[in-house]
């Protein structure tokens, strides 16, 4: 089956994309859909700043070609930010001032969501492993780990 139009669900809405199937998801999200919460930190899948959630899985959008998400669900920070789970993470991250320069944060939040949706009550080690692909240069990671742990506890059955 060949198709020139790629259709997918973006932040809950059916959208379509008519450009090359080999274009990077990161570029399409930022430029076509103006979702600038998805950041470009390295273009090599090493830093996690471009992280999105595809069909429930954490993905580095710089390493995903548009054709791969044909028919998939894609969620960016903009789509996640309206959820109750986001509100719990927001509160937790705020309580320990885990946001410094903020560039890693959208990816970090989506990574937090993926950790907690797989393991609602993770150990610290599981949290650290879950964000091991999200580089942060500002915080030293402690506050972020504390925030995710606290969200899992205060989360009240959200995950």
């Amino acid at each position: 089956m060949n198709s020139n139009i790629i259709k997918f669900i973006l932040n809950g809405n059916e959208v379509s994309y008519a450009g090359p199937a080999g274009a990077r998801l990161l570029d399409v999200l930022r430029e076509e859909f103006r979702l600038t919460g998805v950041k470009c930190g390295c273009s090599e899948g090493e830093c996690g700043a471009c992280a999105v959630i595809i069909d429930g899985m954490l993905a580095n959008s710089c390493m995903v070609a548009m054709g791969r998400i044909n028919g998939s669900h894609v969620m960016t920070i903009e789509g996640y930010a309206g959820t109750e789970r986001f509100a719990a993470l927001d509160k937790a991250y705020a309580s320990v001032s885990a946001v410094q320069c903020g560039f890693c944060i959208p990816g970090m939040i989506l990574a937090s969501e993926c950790i907690l949706s797989k393991t609602p009550h993770p150990t610290e080690e599981q949290i650290r492993d879950g964000i091991s692909g999200n580089l942060c240069r500002c915080t030293g990671y402690n506050a972020i780990v504390t925030a995710i742990m606290s969200a899992s506890k205060e989360g009240n059955g959200l995950w």
Binding site: M1, N4, A21, M63, V64, A65, D129, G133
Partner: protein, 272 residues
């Protein structure tokens, strides 16, 4: 202008592979590093035959399109393979990277390829016209050179079930997570009634191709532990001579030292 193909079956995928000039896209996590939006891709993620994990009497069969995360979660995945793929990169890459892509990249640093080498796995390669089975050792011709015909796809990896449980694995990167291997080592040692029934070793990231020397390993096969202990110095010496690491930013001496240390530790672990 079409630049994406979305086969829904292996048959369709192979037909497209033969007919179109498109790059097979499994997980994309290696391919996309050098991405060019005008490349034609043959997207394989919807091909069910590439996603199967099953076992029969002889083999555990791993679909080439299985992602590392899928294999980590699958009950049939051998422990040695689980351990290796758990240490690849980080969660987002593991969610999309596939064993087929790992092999298809042709690198000697490929963490899953190391396991397939040490287990003497067999690749099932298919084209629209035919199919063949090829031991993985014969699939790698040299640095990033694979014995894959232009119309072929890697379909499955067949892992022989013998002696999979008694293993040793160590990946040495530059840091604790998300590190490309500088040296990786896998070993199988199956001892039954005090006698070695299988000894297999493989070294990754030291040569142009994963280093697997079954003739050297065979020198321990059939021996009792006491006999193997006596043969240990000779065994290590033969590897000392056989391992000639490539030198790059990481020195050959370092790689060599680590290889020999891990090999010695492997033997120690099993009382040899």
């Amino acid at each position: 202008m079409v630049n994406g193909y979305y086969p829904q079956s292996l048959k369709e995928a192979l037909e497209l592979r033969a007919a179109c000039d498109a790059v097979p896209y499994s997980g994309g996590t290696d391919l996309m590093i050098q991405s060019n939006e005008n490349t034609n891709y043959l997207f394989l993620h919807n091909v069910p035959e590439l996603k199967r994990v099953s076992e029969n009497h002889e083999y555990i069969r791993i679909g080439a399109g299985c992602t590392y995360t899928e294999l980590i979660d699958h009950p049939l995945t051998p422990a040695i393979l689980k351990e290796a793929v758990s240490q690849i990169a980080a969660p987002a890459t593991r969610n999309f990277g596939t064993v087929g892509g790992n092999i298809g990249n042709g690198s000697a640093k490929a963490d899953s390829a190391l396991i397939f080498f040490v287990t003497d796995s067999i690749l099932r390669l298919a084209s629209s016209k035919s199919e063949r089975l090829l031991p993985i050792k014969e699939f790698y011709l040299g640095r990033k050179q694979l014995a894959l015909a232009p119309d072929e796809l890697i379909v499955e990896i067949l892992i022989p079930k013998t002696s999979l449980c008694s293993y040793y694995y160590k990946k040495v990167g530059a840091r604790n997570a998300q590190a490309i291997s500088r040296v990786c080592f896998a070993g199988l040692m199956d001892i039954v009634d005090g006698r070695i029934v299988k000894c297999a070793t493989a070294f990754g990231a030291v040569s142009e191709v994963v280093l697997r020397l079954p003739d050297l390993d065979a020198r321990l096969t059939g021996k009792t532990i006491a006999e193997a202990k006596a043969a240990r110095p000779e065994f290590l010496k033969s590897y000392e001579q056989a391992i000639v690491p490539i030198s790059g930013r990481i020195s050959a001496e370092y790689r060599k030292d680590v290889c020999m240390n891990l090999l010695g530790d492997f033997l120690d672990t099993f009382g040899i």
